[in-house]
């Protein structure tokens, strides 16, 4: 009877050293690294963020307004306007790059507005329950019962024009989804035994909520942010169409909006430029969002 002994997944050896300690974040990163598709998407997103940053600092495509060629020059014919020109003869490629800055900033800042509201309200509703929960649920039901597009347009319309309105409008209409998710997750964790144990040790509400529960729901915020980016980028196009988007600088939205006059006369390159630029980053955010959900979801991790 050979008693050859081999360790098994869930029965950890008492004594044998494990290579190096890895937090849940480390575990998640380890799992994400193995997903080749997700990694390429991550690289795409980083690339776009870099371009956006460079453009914001004015290091690249700062001279998007310079006239480089004749109006509506077709693409791939001349090196200094490889993607063709718009009505004023401005380089489409530079406008696309500048558009990246707008798109990424719209996604980032609208998330930065939506996250605090969503997390705070969601956590309070989920943790305290009772009348606090009733009021917060009533508040976000009111917000979510008006169709997003009407709310978005109304806020943008009422606040007037410009990039700040785009940020605020998108931020104010997207916190509801996050709030609902956080509320559900906090409710689930509140009854977990490690929180009750903290209570038994004398930890107050504040410590239980911020030290124990919130760190365990932050993965939701990350997943939400990646999906919020793609919603924001697409909404910016709609806002530009109704004339409430950015003014005075090119964005993918204004470029696509211009196309509605140009495509009828076969001027397709400005539309193509903006569309493809947007396509890759939105696709990347979508796939990344899914991959993050699989990697960060502790439920799968626990099954060991």
């Amino acid at each position: 009877m050979s008693t050859q002994v081999l360790s098994n997944e869930s029965v950890k050896k008492e004594s044998v050293e494990i290579e190096e300690s890895r937090s849940l974040w480390g575990e998640a990163w380890h799992r994400l690294k193995k997903d080749k598709v997700a990694m390429t998407c991550l690289i795409i997103v980083c690339l776009y963020s870099l371009i956006g940053l460079l453009s914001a600092l004015g290091l690249v495509a700062a001279d998007w307004a310079k006239e480089v060629g004749p109006s509506y020059a077709p693409p791939f014919e001349n090196w200094d306007y490889i993607l063709g020109t718009d009505i004023f003869g401005r380089d489409v490629l530079k406008k696309v790059i500048h558009g990246t800055q707008i798109a990424m900033s719209v996604g980032l800042i609208s998330s930065l507005i939506a996250i605090p509201i969503g997390v705070v309200l969601g956590a309070l509703a989920g943790y305290f329950g009772g009348w606090v929960d009733e009021i917060i649920v009533w508040f976000y039901t009111t917000f979510s019962s008006i169709p997003g597009i009407i709310l978005l347009m109304s806020i943008a319309f009422v606040l007037g024009k410009g990039i700040t309105t785009v940020y605020i409008a998108l931020g104010l209409t997207s916190w509801v989804g996050l709030c609902r998710l956080i509320r559900g997750e906090v409710m689930k964790h509140k009854n977990r035994e490690y929180v009750q144990a903290a209570g038994a040790l004398g930890a107050g509400h504040g410590r239980k909520l911020f030290k124990h529960i919130l760190p365990n729901v932050t993965h939701i915020i990350i997943i939400f942010t990646s999906l919020q980016f793609q919603v924001a980028i697409k909404s910016e196009v709609i806002l530009s169409y109704i004339g409430l988007g950015v003014s005075g600088q090119p964005s993918w939205g204004t470029m696509i909006d211009d196309a509605k006059m140009e495509l009828a006369r076969d001027v397709w390159w400005q539309l193509a430029g903006a569309t493809f630029a947007m396509f890759f980053v939105v696709l990347a955010f979508n796939i990344l969002g899914d991959a993050l959900r699989d990697a960060l979801d502790p439920k799968l991790k626990g099954k060991g």
Partner: protein, 577 residues
């Protein structure tokens, strides 16, 4: 010998987890003769479930794969059988019962339909015929009023009844072989007995081979003809039950048998697998002193063991909502006028079936759940009257250890943070270094390596995590700890180590415990006094030996009789001869 029904030869099963290939079953060979019961025993992760799934061809393809050996069923090798052939065998020739009765049935189909489905599939019955046969089967497995029950949905039935339905489905086509993977583990002990008797009668009636998989040696002793012992994906020993129970060959088997707290014995400490086998698996000679039967003696003296905790007429009621505005229409009495006294340094066992209110009682004493009325005098101070501040200071004296090791530690905090938190809350230890050295001391105290402080909870096994919880409780130098089902989720060998640890700590620090559990033999081992609870009330309270040897209430008697004796049938037959 009657002909061999199922013969497994050198079976190997590998799992491709993210971090490489893991061998779950390592060339296992054993037979299941027709009409006989074979007990496959081993702790979680030993590969016993994987072996049974392999026999049914149900190993999930990615990530698992059978990489060697044969499974002969009536001469046909199932490993080579096509999916089409396997489908004709599953449910007809071989059927299987799983552990979780709560989720084994499809929630949106009626019970009758789920039984008749297999009949229509394999026996070619029409819907009407199948329904009639299903009602008969439900009656046969002891479901009350089968005609009406067949129309019920799974969620309208109790755990025990649902397991009976699963059994009805399994035996519907009168299969030759029945595989049962821990069918009764999730059930209360009284219901477990009824289900085991049912399976035993059905096996007799249909002359079925039964492969019974469990980690509970007591159950194996009662019903198995032969036993196969598995340890970390290897088969360490097999033979007929009497031989295994009286003269086990392999040290692991010996360890398993010894570390089970038995009802009739009352040893001071439990033997553990590590007393029989060292880490590498080689046998070590048994240290005689440990086996000496030293019975615990219960003689509390007034000055050494004054009354620490006195509970008078404690009530905990939960409101039941109803009506349009959700007004409270009724009260559910979870704890109903419970009173008892607990002396310092002693252990009170709280035992009862699930839903009897033992956990609520424990939590309400610590005011984790607010009691509705009654007194909880701790050293004369009534905890129910304290305001938030005073209650917080009392927290350092009174602690609790939970059941589920996976959820009682914050997954995002290192062990160091876990241990330092209580000290910070009650400002124990002057500086950070002092606290860290205390944390290291606590780790040693509970038998863990002090250099593992920077690790995270998910990097430890269940047993290790429970030790960390104990260390966390000790961090505030408590006098009184409530252990709420603290060992129920652990394997029996690990259970023994933790129980010994609790006893050592009690002896060293003079701790007082309330030990809550549904497992009578564990409560009997560790408690000085035992309180038996039923639907919110304490039906019997006496010293451990009196409760087990001279039970007064009929309910306690039923509980005790339902516990598997742990003595093989053959041996019993001999003793009665």
């Amino acid at each position: 010998m009657s002909d061999i029904l199922l013969s497994i030869k050198d079976l190997c099963v590998d799992f491709n987890t993210g971090d490489g290939i893991v061998r779950a079953v390592n060339n296992i060979s054993f037979d299941v003769p027709a009409g006989k019961t074979v007990g496959l025993v081993g702790e979680s992760g030993s590969g016993k479930s994987v072996t049974s799934l392999a026999a049914m061809g149900l190993i999930p393809n990615p990530p698992g794969k059978i990489t060697g050996g044969e499974i002969l069923f009536k001469g046909k090798d199932l490993v080579k059988a096509s999916e089409e052939e396997m489908r004709r065998i599953r449910g007809k020739e071989i059927s299987m019962i799983f552990q979780e009765p709560m989720t084994s049935l499809n929630p949106v189909f009626r019970v009758g339909d789920q039984v008749s489905e297999i009949l229509m599939l394999h026996m070619g019955m029409t819907k009407k015929q199948a329904w009639a046969r299903s009602v008969e089967l439900l009656d046969q497995v002891g479901i009350p009023d089968p005609q009406r029950s067949a129309l019920k949905y799974p969620h309208e039935m109790s755990g025990g009844q649902k397991q009976r339905v699963v059994i009805a489905i399994a035996i519907a086509c009168e299969p030759k072989l029945l595989i049962a993977d821990e069918p009764t583990t999730a059930l209360d002990v009284t219901i477990q007995k009824q289900v085991l008797d049912l399976m035993f009668d059905l096996q007799e009636k249909y002359k079925m081979g039964l492969l019974f998989i469990t980690h509970d040696l007591g159950v194996i002793a009662d019903i198995a003809d032969d036993v196969v012992v598995m340890y970390r994906s290897n088969l360490v020993e097999q033979g007929d039950t009497k031989k295994i129970f009286t003269a086990a060959g392999h040290p692991y088997t010996k360890g398993l048998l010894a570390c089970r707290p038995a009802l009739d014995k009352n040893p001071k400490r439990l033997l553990t697998v590590s007393d029989f086998m060292d880490e590498s698996g080689a046998e070590i000679s048994l240290d005689e002193s440990k086996t000496k039967k030293v019975d615990k003696v219960y003689n509390p003296s007034e000055e050494k063991n004054p009354v620490l905790l006195e509970v008078n007429n404690l009530h905990v009621d939960f409101p039941i909502k109803g009506g349009v505005f959700g007004r409270t229409v009724d009260q559910f009495k979870a704890v109903n006028s419970v009173s008892f006294k607990l002396r310092k340094g002693m252990t009170l066992g709280l035992v009862g079936e699930s839903g009897c209110g033992k956990t609520t009682l424990g939590r309400s004493i610590l005011r984790l759940i607010e009691p509705t009325q009654g007194q909880v005098l701790y050293n004369g101070i009534d905890l129910t009257k304290l305001d938030k501040k005073q209650l917080r200071d009392m927290r350092s004296k009174v602690q609790i250890i939970f059941q589920d090791p996976y959820s009682s530690l914050n997954p995002r905090m290192t062990i160091e943070e876990v241990l330092l938190e209580p000290m910070l809350l009650h400002n124990i230890g002057g500086s950070k270094e002092e606290r860290i050295s205390k944390a290291k001391w606590l780790m040693e105290k509970v038998g863990l390596k002090s250099n593992q402080l920077s690790r995270y909870p998910h990097e430890f096994s269940g047993g290790q995590r429970q030790r960390i919880c104990i260390a966390r409780a000790l961090a505030v130098n408590p006098e009184f700890i409530i252990c709420d089902e603290s060992v129920s989720a652990l394997d029996v060998s690990v259970q023994a180590q933790v129980l010994n640890l609790l006893l050592d700590l009690q002896a060293e620090f003079g701790l007082t415990y309330i030990f809550i559990s549904h497992d009578l033999s564990v409560v009997n081992f560790i408690s000085d006094e035992v309180a038996v609870m039923k639907s919110g009330e304490v039906v019997e309270l006496d010293t451990a030996s009196n409760v087990y040897l001279k039970p007064e209430k009929q309910y306690t008697k039923d509980l005790l009789s339902a516990i598997p004796k742990g003595i093989p049938k053959a041996l019993l037959a001999e003793q009665n001869l």
